[in-house]
Point group: C2
Chain length 413, copies 2
Amino acid sequence: MSATVSPLAPKKYVKLPALEGVRIRTAEAGIKYRNRTDLLLMVFDEGTDVAGVFTRSKCPSAPVDLCRANLPGGKARVLVVNSGNANAFTGRKGRETTSLTAKAAAAAVGCRPDEVFLASTGVIGEPLDAGKFSHLLKDMAKGAEAGLWGEAGKAIMTTDTYPKYATATVKLGDADVTINGIAKGAGMIAPDMATMLSFVATDAPIAAPVLQQMLSAGTKGTFNAVTVDSDTSTSDTLLLFATGAAAKRGAPRITDPKDARLMQFRRALNRILKNLALQVVRDGEGARKQVEVTVTGAKSARSAKRIALSIANSPLVKTAVAGEDANWGRVVMAVGKAGEPADRDLLSVWFGDIRVAREGERDPDYSEAATSDYMKRDEIRIRADIGLGRGKATVWTCDLTKAYVEINGDYRS
Amino acid sequence: MSATVSPLAPKKYVKLPALEGVRIRTAEAGIKYRNRTDLLLMVFDEGTDVAGVFTRSKCPSAPVDLCRANLPGGKARVLVVNSGNANAFTGRKGRETTSLTAKAAAAAVGCRPDEVFLASTGVIGEPLDAGKFSHLLKDMAKGAEAGLWGEAGKAIMTTDTYPKYATATVKLGDADVTINGIAKGAGMIAPDMATMLSFVATDAPIAAPVLQQMLSAGTKGTFNAVTVDSDTSTSDTLLLFATGAAAKRGAPRITDPKDARLMQFRRALNRILKNLALQVVRDGEGARKQVEVTVTGAKSARSAKRIALSIANSPLVKTAVAGEDANWGRVVMAVGKAGEPADRDLLSVWFGDIRVAREGERDPDYSEAATSDYMKRDEIRIRADIGLGRGKATVWTCDLTKAYVEINGDYRS
């Protein structure tokens, strides 16, 4: 948690409403940080369905292993998240910690071990002592309340400069259902999946396989389309819980992902995922500007996304944005290095609505002054048209500033 | 050219000897820089053989196109290099510039157009006016001298903080032959091939196909194994010229790459390529430390190199090195994100000779103090053993400092 809040933070934090079937408690366990909460417990009513998406790292953290193992059951009763220590690359000790924590959590809420989900975020490679916090879970479960979403968002922060919230209420059948989400970044953010922890819950009655389909599809253009520094965490975890409590108010239980009644819900979920993913980017370590990179005219959507990520991950593009320099030559460089089909002489590049290059050279109408003006904005859009096909993709990143180096040059100290 | 020389610069610059068959001249053409040379002419005696390796960017510069077109002829009489403008992504104008420059160069030395080689380095996307310097070539050719290698190294610099030289004299048959090389970096450095310009010449009589075989093989573990920022330039050019003048002193003409008499020469060439490549890394923009990354125990050499580059290109690993923080967790993260076969619980990591992690967790003998001491050095070695096979690779990079961001945040201004 940083003393200086990102200039791209929301002007006002959205307040998440209570969600039936979810109760929350946070605590100061003193795992690493002092004078702040670092432990989150979410308790779900019986029957809650769950879906998840995790890091593709070949070296995932112990909690990711545990979530993956429990996910096929499709049911969740409790989530425990700690910040300050990722419990990643902690070997046998790491597994002991997740095992002890899961047992304590199951006992605290009275559920089966495979209904427990865990996430840890912070330093990698330091053993995490379950003894530091597992004894707190029982009292936390007792004291858990429906309205504490604001606290939940704060307890999971690491180098984040602000908590990240999103909410929506939509119709499912004739009933109102609500979706609440929280997330944390802020470095080691890259697909797939974009680093971070994010927990989304709804009172809609939706079966786990349907949740999973929606979540997997929804991450593609959202959490898997944001990158801060091209580094992929060992701990990336996105979980979606559905308590089903809205069934009492007449919401239909959805068991088929093709159910037409899901349309509004699906859209709202995607908006929330995108909203949270963008908040993560806007709080990227040292970020001063949000950058939206769109690639059009590529051979395929897949190719477009690779080129877009090549641009979004290029240190030279990102430092140019930080320096408010419309250095489109570096965009060309990043297109060229992506390894995807591209023809220099068909390429066009835009900053915002200003076309700076077309057909492989500087636009004859290029105005340095107008483009420089544009670069002063908080939100920069870069577009590259490859001119070869119809493939299209958009990804989001932030600029690369001296503050990023500063934050990461002494993260552990 | 920067005012502050990299702390990793050589303590003493090696002086390159005159090389029979090569004459050199530099000039201040005022293309972008003031009060420094920015134009290099190298004239080669008739019969000089040439080989080259170029950027794999899909958007190569106009001079790269020209070199590629002329390379199959296998003969070179003149090389023209300018700094300050890369003549990249300059469309039709770019081709006009290379065409005009090549004509002027051919006229200046009296050779065929396909014996001309060009390279440009600097800003991308700005038209380069051949009229600014092509008229100088004739007088430069007249005034060219054998001993001006030192000047050659300086004229091609951009953000380099020091010129890069390497030389070796070895036996070919019974005759001494010399190899001289110069190079420039210093950002946009990544395989393949590592960005930069490098020009190597020898008086050995070696046929172009043999040169090409040696150069292509030699770049793999040298120029294609260094990375500063993962960004690949549109202009990467490495040319190797063999004037054959040593034949007069009894050196045998080599026409078969398997010729056993080449052994010493090949080794010396590889040493020079590695020496120049490392000088490029040590002058990486903002570099304060050289980092050698070795991956052992991977499934294959190819897999090892990918993992090594994932580590070497990770902003979080590089900022940790800058902060003298032995954050081996980030090394694990970079192994995990490489997408190559890896098993967390078989992984070991070393900083220098200190094993910090083994079998998926912190080494029981880990000493934070000893490791922190090690991180204070100028040259850091990181090794990761994957524990799966026998694949091995070494790559080199530098740390990521605030100075990198500073340099690249206002490069064009």
